[in-house]
């Protein structure tokens, strides 16, 4: 990928499978924690969200994601891999727009580091959304 952290359109089941394979080649990792963010079909002022269009500051997103990965790996010694992928462009309701996968030796660090990565993505990844009705 040109950009390791952003992907055009939804994160498809096929991509999820590929990322699972990518994260899964490590027999020392006993724990894999995954978070998948999906577009909800929320009703806003009586109108139903059918999709979200995501835009990103691509170059900075790459840099920030890289930094998040490094921070998490430094904070959780048992963590082995941290994968972050965020959609840009249109993602329809029910489709996935964010995937975080953290592998670790044991469950405590994989689950905590996954949550921590998620919070950092929310705070630091330069991505914006526009609801489509």
């Amino acid at each position: 990928m040109k950009n390791r952290y952003l992907v055009g359109g939804p994160i498809t089941p096929l991509l999820i499978s590929e990322l699972w394979t990518l994260g899964n080649d490590d027999a020392g990792a006993g724990a894999v924690s995954i978070f998948i963010g999906k577009v909800r079909d929320d009703e806003v002022n009586g109108r139903r969200v059918t999709a979200i269009e995501y835009s990103a500051y691509n170059e900075m997103a790459d840099k920030e994601a890289e930094e998040i990965v490094k921070t998490v790996q430094a904070a959780f010694s048992d963590v082995r891999k941290v994968i972050i992928v965020h959609s840009t462009g249109i993602v329809r309701a029910g489709e996935a727009s964010l995937l975080i996968m953290v592998t670790a030796g044991h469950r405590d660090h994989s689950t905590r580091a996954c949550r921590h990565t998620l919070e950092m993505v929310k705070e630091q990844l330069p991505v914006w959304k526009k609801e489509i009705y």
């Binding site: 963010g37 995501y54 835009s55 990103a56 500051y57 170059e59 900075m60 840099k63 965020h86 727009s97 964010l98 998620l118 993505v121 929310k122 705070e123 630091q124 990844l125 330069p126 991505v127 914006w128 959304k129 526009k130």
Partner: protein
């Protein structure tokens, strides 16, 4: 007296300015904001942070010729 910098608009800032980027003239981020808010009064309603050359700024900064400034409304990833 200022330098020509490239300003990138994201999210709501794009909608309020009607553009995704432009060149503006300013010597530091403070004067850049004044220039911008004068040009786009509706931007006053927007809370935003500024990145200089892809680094989030935590305080005012001088600007060099060709610096890349990004106007970042509250992030909405996830």
């Amino acid at each position: 007296m200022g330098n020509v910098v490239r300003v990138l608009y994201f999210g709501a800032a794009q909608e309020l300015t009607g553009k995704s980027s432009e060149k503006l003239n300013a010597g530091d981020t403070g004067s850049l904001c004044r220039v911008m808010l004068e040009k786009y009064p509706s931007m006053r309603t927007l809370s935003f942070r500024i990145a200089l050359n892809r680094n989030l700024l935590r305080e005012e900064s001088v600007l060099m010729e060709n610096d890349e400034i990004a106007i970042l409304p509250p992030l909405q990833g996830g």
